[in-house]
């Protein structure tokens, strides 16, 4: 647009979402891995065009594939968390639960998983052993088998401790169709519990930020909870585990994919005191802080109570609650009614969450 002041009525607001894709960053920066707008742009403007016809899906968290007579879910994820051990978990727990949850969000029962390690020369064998033990325990708890793997070592200085990639396969029962584009006007937005816990636990022990808190990561496998929700017989429309980018990123993705607006009621969102206090100290928005054991669900409005009861009966959904509704207005956007009675836009976080001073 080159017009001047009179042109504001014709500005394409939708088109702004990604102004000059990738051209403004010739290098990969941390934000490209943050799960926010920059990650999405990388997929949309680099990977999908480059893969061309070879890409058959949207490269989302989990692919749903028909093989023979079965419907399979297939997912992969890499784990680079620093520090590797944090209150309530480790990179090993995340590596298993993260992939289990990606599968579970398509309604799948996770079955098999691969584990691949990229290790930096000089990494402590004892530490690697502890990470591997946590992975074994997490897999047992989740009921998945670790069936294949790989290990590579890189020069000192070209990696940073331990990186883990896992991929997983699960099977989806007939009649289950859970997908980000299925949210409809009138659907209820549910959350399985307290938001922001994992991100705050990790930040509390990050160099330069250290603060004392009793928060522990919520890392957990969610497929059992999902199974309980499916068992209600409800047509679950969308499930998402709000990891990087938090609830805000997940709901923005859903709103855009489904072409609905989402309206949250801020006071109904369960933000534990610990997360609220840490966010106040660091200037963060709890809705943008990562979770590793929570899900958001978009379900038909009339089934909301039934699904909530099933969630609350499950150990990982005890404080599940309804936080909002899908609405016809402002399609593709998420807004929240504030405690004061106003409205604010809940935006897709741009990249990494950084503490702010103002």
């Amino acid at each position: 647009m080159t017009g001047a002041t009179e042109s504001h009525d014709t500005i394409d607001f939708e088109g702004w979402v990604c102004p000059v894709p990738l051209r403004d960053t010739p290098f990969i920066v941390m934000g490209h891995g943050g799960g926010g707008a920059m990650s999405a742009e990388l997929i949309e403007h680099l990977f999908l065009p480059a893969y061309g016809a070879a890409a058959t899906a949207d490269l989302g968290d989990c692919a749903v594939l028909s093989v023979g007579g079965s419907t399979l879910a297939f997912s992969t994820d890499s784990f680079v968390v620093k520090p590797m051990f944090f209150p309530g978990g480790s990179i090993g727990d995340l590596a298993v639960n993260g992939t289990v949850n990606d599968l579970a969000m398509s309604g799948a029962t996770p079955l098999f998983m691969s584990t691949a390690f990229i290790l930096q020369e000089g990494t402590s064998v004892g530490e690697l052993g502890r990470i591997a033990q946590r992975m074994g325990a997490a897999a047992l708890a989740a009921g998945v088998r670790l069936v294949t793997g790989d290990t590579k070592v890189v020069d000192h200085g070209s990696g940073d401790g331990v990186y883990i990639n896992t991929a997983g396969i699960g099977v989806i029962a007939d009649g289950v169709n859970i997908n980000a584009y299925r949210a409809q006007v009138g659907d209820a937005v549910l959350i399985s519990g307290d938001v922001g816990v994992h991100g705050i636990a990790v930040m509390s022990c990050r160099e330069g930020l250290e603060f004392g808190t009793a928060v522990e990561s919520d890392t957990a496998p969610l497929h059992g909870l999902v199974a309980a929700m499916i068992a209600t017989g409800t047509d679950l429309h969308v499930l998402r585990d709000p990891t990087r980018g938090g609830v805000s990123a997940s709901l923005n993705e859903i709103a855009r994919a489904s072409g609905v607006g989402i309206e949250l009621v801020e006071q109904d969102i369960p933000v534990p005191e610990t997360v609220r206090d840490a966010c106040a100290l660091l200037g963060l928005d709890p809705l943008q802080v990562a979770n590793e054991g929570k899900l958001v669900a978009i379900v038909p409005g009339e089934a909301a109570d039934l699904v909530l009861q099933a969630m609350q009966a499950h150990p990982l959904g005890r404080s599940a609650c309804r936080i909002g509704t899908c609405v016809p207005d402002h399609a593709g956007m998420v807004v929240a009614k504030t405690g004061m009675g106003g409205t604010r836009v809940v935006d897709l976080p741009l990249g990494e969450q950084l503490p702010r001073i103002c």
């Binding site: 002041t5 290098f27 330069g208 399609a331 009675g341 103002c358």
Partner: protein, 367 residues
């Protein structure tokens, strides 16, 4: 958290809002000076609850946004040097210089670290004696005591590998500059509460008198903001223009004497360019002569870096409430939150960035 939650009480907010509505008989344009206040207004949707006539003009954003392009380019040049660890507040990392931001320097191998406090940077310097550790010392008067103490400690403890790139800005000269504009629309100020926690309130009565403008020292929680607006509107309606303190729990008239003593020891007033606004005389601090050996601009060879601000950017006019952000030709095209030209687009609470994120809703609704 105690003393935060109580000041977000919706029932009391309603009372304050009722009072503001009852008191308002005509249109008033108020400016909240501080980006933290803008953040709170947007975050809680307070602007939507005000009487139609009460317009909030978002002030100069935050010190991160107004840090001049030239200083950012210097920081980027220093951060790119081998053997340097550049430490910064988190908000500064995303603020672009002419061609890059600190994230990109980091991706190119530069050692850039986010710290919560400048003292953390001093600790990093002690842990890395073979590296030069530079802290990017920006901020308003609120942040200056922390940066001053860090420089003071570095000198006292003889931490030779530490230096600071200083670009401090001062609020009262900026308020005066806004009022000096012949076309200025601002009729009342919510002054920045935490700036006054440090500096006290003595600088404001002369401004209120000279420009015949009410100035109300205001906090940051929803009730604080509403009380600031209420007091300002009542002054305007009654034709008064005085200094009032609506944030007495954290602001004393005399300020923090110990902090001001340290500021005088470490800093000297200087002219300062504000990004998107231009040079404002005597509106900043630099390290005083006693501490020049800790000045990163001197320690590293960056004196030759000169960068002009964008000529497209009209954030100066936005700041004065003369134009709405979308009336600038660059808005949403050459200038976006991802690639901001001026102060008001840089941080999420800048007027242009807030408009970009927020007004989308109004436009979508209007369709």
């Amino acid at each position: 958290m105690k003393y935060l939650d109580e000041f977000s009480n919706p029932d009391l907010a309603k009372k304050l809002l009722d009072q503001i509505h009852a008191a308002t008989t005509q249109s008033w344009a108020l400016m909240e000076v501080c980006g933290g206040q803008t953040h709170s207004i947007i975050r809680h949707g307070i602007d939507q609850l005000l009487p139609e006539g009460v317009e909030m003009i978002h002030g100069p954003g935050c010190p991160v946004c107004v840090t001049p392009l030239e200083i950012i380019d210097k920081a980027l040049a220093i951060a790119a040097l081998d053997n340097v660890i550049l430490c910064s507040f988190g908000d500064m990392l995303r603020v672009p210089g002419s061609t890059q931001d600190l994230f990109m320097i980091k991706s190119g191998g530069g050692d850039v670290r986010v710290v919560y406090s400048p003292l953390d940077a001093l600790n990093i310097a002690r842990q890395n004696p073979d590296k030069e550790v530079v802290f990017f010392g920006i901020g308003f008067e609120t942040t200056a005591p922390a940066n001053a103490m860090t420089v003071y400690q570095a000198k006292r403890l003889s931490i030779k590998n530490f230096s600071m790139l200083v670009s401090h800005v001062l609020v009262p000269p900026a308020m005066a500059a806004i009022m000096e504009s012949p076309t200025c629309r601002v009729q009342g100020f919510l002054a920045a509460g935490h700036v006054c926690s440090v500096m006290g309130t003595s600088e404001y009565p002369p401004l209120a008198q000279r420009y015949r403008v009410p100035i109300v020292v205001t906090g940051f929680e929803p009730l604080d903001i509403l009380e600031g607006i209420r007091k300002t509107v009542i002054q305007l309606e009654e034709g008064r223009y005085e200094l009032e303190n609506a944030y007495p729990r954290a602001v004393q008239a005399e300020g923090n004497i110990a902090a001001m003593t340290m500021l005088r020891e470490v800093f000297e007033v200087t002219d300062r360019t504000w990004r998107g606004i231009g040079m404002i005389p005597q509106s900043g601090w630099r390290l005083s002569d006693r501490y020049l050996d800790l000045d990163a601009e001197r320690r590293f060879d960056v004196a030759d870096i000169h960068t002009d601000e964008s000529t497209l950017c009209r954030s100066g006019e936005v700041l004065q409430g003369l134009i709405k952000p979308h009336e600038c030709a660059a808005f949403g095209t050459q200038c976006t939150p991802r690639k901001p030209l001026g102060a008001t687009m840089v941080s999420s609470e800048g007027a242009c960035a807030a408009y970009y994120a927020y007004r989308r809703l109004d436009v979508v609704d209007a369709r």
